[in-house]
């Protein structure tokens, strides 16, 4: 029966070689985040008990049974969910931080303080042309800083919208890929390497997609995925539906899947939506500060007289942070004296009332409150983001620990299968020896 022994040895050597291949594949993919560790399960080859057969005669070795892919649905889901949360917090925070930079670095607050300081200096000598010109130039600077801040906010909004559009396009590409992967999974043999590769690909696509939007996923027995976005189905079997985006009045985004409205709970798309909503609110707050300045300065002008004694004209024109412009042509137009004071009056009561109205609940206080609101919102969101980041890191690491490659384990496996291969070759050697011995008898 040496023939049988040779066959058993051969099957053992082949199985060991296949297992070595899998081990090598694992080692090669040790740093691939989308790769889940594979193991090869073995199945014994034996004829199942015929009546007449003697014990031991039905053995015919081993065969590689299935390529098993280590998977943890819970950890995969957890990693996706926390990843979505983190992406949302990151997107919102980055949008608001841009808005904060736009408002803070434009230097509106220092410009408002400088304007008040110039007015105070003008009070010491209201007829001094240089001091009047300084007030005028500081007024011009305020108007420009408001314009710059407004442009910065508009750019921040555009950036978020651009990113969101890119995100929507990317989600649509990914849903198409996912539908194709589902189709391929249906055709692949369960337990094959191909199936494992397809499952890896499916999880990678889902991982990438969940960065854009929070997904609801269900899997069938083969591993095909059905993806839901809010209440709407995004991918089902081989069908995928297009995601589209439009703007709401308050700046937030509205989403549709296949033309039907849906909501996105989390992910970078939702974060961008929240960021734009936040920036729009900041923008209208900034407009309110600008309008406060315009109304205070202009109402002071309306009760005063210019240097030549004529009725003063408005200081600023336009509305809001985008529209505010300096209207006065010359410093002589600043109404330091009350109306009817006559030409070249040194009466500063009108200037004083402007200073008083600016210093109590004036634009500087408004701007400070605005900056405080923005920055404390960012500070709170930074804490949330850091917490979510820790959670997402932990989930990612837990997933990697569960499904990733352990090089020490693979080294042991390498040794183990190598030994199995060597032992199997010894079995073949033994079969050959037995055969030779039998031949030698004759």
């Amino acid at each position: 029966m040496s023939g049988n022994l040779i066959m058993i040895g051969k099957s053992g050597a082949m199985a060991a070689r296949a297992a070595l291949d899998i081990t090598a594949q694992n080692i090669a993919n040790a740093s691939n985040a989308n790769y889940a560790r594979r193991t090869l399960s073995m199945a014994e080859l034996a004829s199942k008990g015929g009546i007449a057969s003697e014990p031991g005669t039905g053995l015919s070795g081993v065969r590689p049974d299935q390529v098993l892919r280590t998977n943890s649905l819970f950890l995969q889901n957890e990693a996706r969910r926390t990843g979505s949360d983190l992406a949302r917090a990151d997107a919102e925070l980055s949008g608001l931080t841009n808005a904060q930079s736009a408002v803070e670095q434009a230097g509106i607050y220092p410009a408002l303080v400088d304007f008040e300081a110039s007015l105070a200096r003008l009070a010491s000598d209201p007829l001094d042309g240089a001091l009047r010109a300084a007030v005028l130039e500081d007024g011009r600077r305020i108007a420009q800083t408001f314009n710059i801040a407004d442009q910065g906010l508009a750019t921040a909004v555009q950036e978020q919208q651009f990113n969101a559009d890119a995100g929507v396009a990317q989600v649509n590409v990914l849903t198409g890929e996912l539908a194709r992967t589902n189709a391929a999974i249906a055709r692949a043999t369960p337990g094959s390497s191909t199936m494992a590769v397809l499952h890896d690909q499916r999880d990678a696509l889902l991982g990438e997609m969940s960065g854009y939007a929070g997904l609801g996923t269900t899997f069938d027995a083969l591993g095909r995925v059905t993806v839901k976005l809010g209440s709407e189905t995004l991918v089902s079997g081989v069908d995928s539906f297009a995601l589209a985006r439009s703007d709401n009045a308050d700046g937030s985004f509205a989403f549709t899947v296949g033309g039907v409205a849906t909501t996105i709970g989390t992910g970078s798309l939702q974060g961008q939506s929240q960021a734009v909503q936040g920036i729009t609110a900041i923008s209208s707050d900034l407009d309110a500060v600008a309008n406060l300045l315009i109304s205070k300065a202009n109402s002071a002008q309306s009760t005063g007289a210019a240097l030549d004694g004529t009725a003063a004209t408005p200081f600023f024109s336009g509305m809001g942070a985008a529209g505010i412009t300096l209207a006065l042509a010359s410093g002589d137009g600043i109404a330091t004296a009350p109306a009817g004071a006559g030409p070249r009056s040194r009466d500063i009561s009108n200037l004083q009332s402007l200073r008083d109205s600016l210093s109590v609940n004036g634009p500087a206080a408004g701007q400070d409150a605005l900056l405080f609101r923005v920055s404390s919102g960012i500070a709170a969101r930074t804490i949330t983001r850091d917490a979510l980041s820790t959670i997402a890191d932990t989930a990612g690491t837990a997933l990697a620990a569960e499904t990733g490659v352990d090089l020490d384990q693979e080294a042991t496996n390498l040794l183990r299968y190598q030994q199995q291969f060597q032992a199997s070759s010894k079995v073949i050697q033994a079969a050959s020896d037995i055969f030779d011995t039998l031949m030698g008898i004759g």
Binding site: A33, T70, I348, D368, F372, S376, A401
Partner: protein, 305 residues
């Protein structure tokens, strides 16, 4: 297979996350030390940032208030100097009138004294029209022109009724000066007059404008005394205001120091603590890098031959 593994990927991820956090913290500390500012943007500490904004605004406005106080004080001192000159002129006039009131003085000499009194009157006019550092009339109230103008032989006040007030910060309103009438007007023998009218009529009386110039001179002495008294009162007012401004300036300096201390407390970096913290952070980072290298080089593949 659900065996516990030491996933290589997870090991590197954990290690890089931990070392990255340590490195970021050290860099933040290093940045704080080199800029000497704890906050780089408002969201680092919104409350402190708002306080710092308020402090910087107060500081900026206080600088202007201090400059305005200095300027007002200088103008008041100039006004004081002018009043001193006027006072000397009035005393000189009194001396002359005293001579003129003597019976031993001849009519011609008395007329010359009258001329000198007239000259003193004009000198007082130029003193009262003195300008401040900004070129505006010291005693003209809020006018941009002269306080008094001479037309023919009449000198009349052409300024405004009040001097106006300046805000020296924190609700401290101070009158910018005194007006001409506050200095020059006085009551002589029950009837209100001013220095120029009084000296003008006295001068013309001494030059023979009245029947009894000697008596006019004797009557004039009392009037000049009243004028000097009114002037002295104005000098006292100015002196008090200068002293008041000094008090305000002292308080401004105190407040500025307090603000600087609060700014350093709110937005500054405690040097020793931060350096110590950085050193601690660096020690931990170094240790974790060293242990990471040791662990990473620990591979079974090296041992399998």
């Amino acid at each position: 297979m659900t065996a516990v593994t030491n996933s290589t990927l997870a090991f590197y991820r954990r290690a890089s996350a931990q070392m990255g956090t340590l490195r970021a913290s050290s860099e933040t500390l290093q940045n704080q030390i080199s800029t000497q500012e704890r906050l780089t943007r408002s969201s680092d500490d919104p409350v402190a940032a708002s306080q710092l904004r308020m402090l910087s605004r107060d500081e900026k406005l206080a600088d202007i208030d201090a400059a305005n106080a200095r300027r007002t004080s200088e103008n008041l001192e100039l006004a004081g100097d002018a009043l001193g000159a006027i006072s000397e002129d009035l005393i000189r006039a009194r001396e002359l009138v005293l001579w003129a009131s003597s019976d031993t003085m001849g009519a011609a000499e008395r007329a010359r004294i009258g001329e000198e009194v007239e000259q003193l009157r004009l000198r007082i006019l130029s003193s009262i029209n003195a300008r401040d550092a900004g070129g505006n009339a010291l005693f003209g109230g809020e006018t941009s022109g002269n306080a008094y103008t001479l037309s023919g032989s009449t000198i009349s006040y052409t300024g405004t009724a009040t001097a106006g007030e300046i805000d020296l910060g924190q609700g401290q309103l101070l009158s910018r000066g005194v007006t001409g009438p506050e200095v020059m007007n006085f009551t002589s023998g029950g009837s209100p007059t001013d220095v120029f009218t009084f000296l003008g009529s006295l001068a013309s009386a001494l030059q023979g404008g009245v029947a009894d110039p000697v008596q006019a001179a004797r009557d004039g002495l009392a009037g000049i005394d009243d004028a000097v008294e009114s002037l002295t009162r104005a000098q006292t007012i100015i002196g008090t205001r200068v002293a008041w401004i000094e008090v305000i300036e002292d308080r401004q300096i105190d407040q500025s120091l307090t603000r600087a201390a609060r700014t350093a407390e709110t937005g500054g970096v405690p040097f020793a603590e931060t350096v110590a913290e950085l050193q601690q952070m660096l020690t931990v980072l170094e240790a974790s890098q060293a242990s990471f290298t040791r662990l990473a080089s620990l591979s079974l593949f090296d041992s399998i031959r």
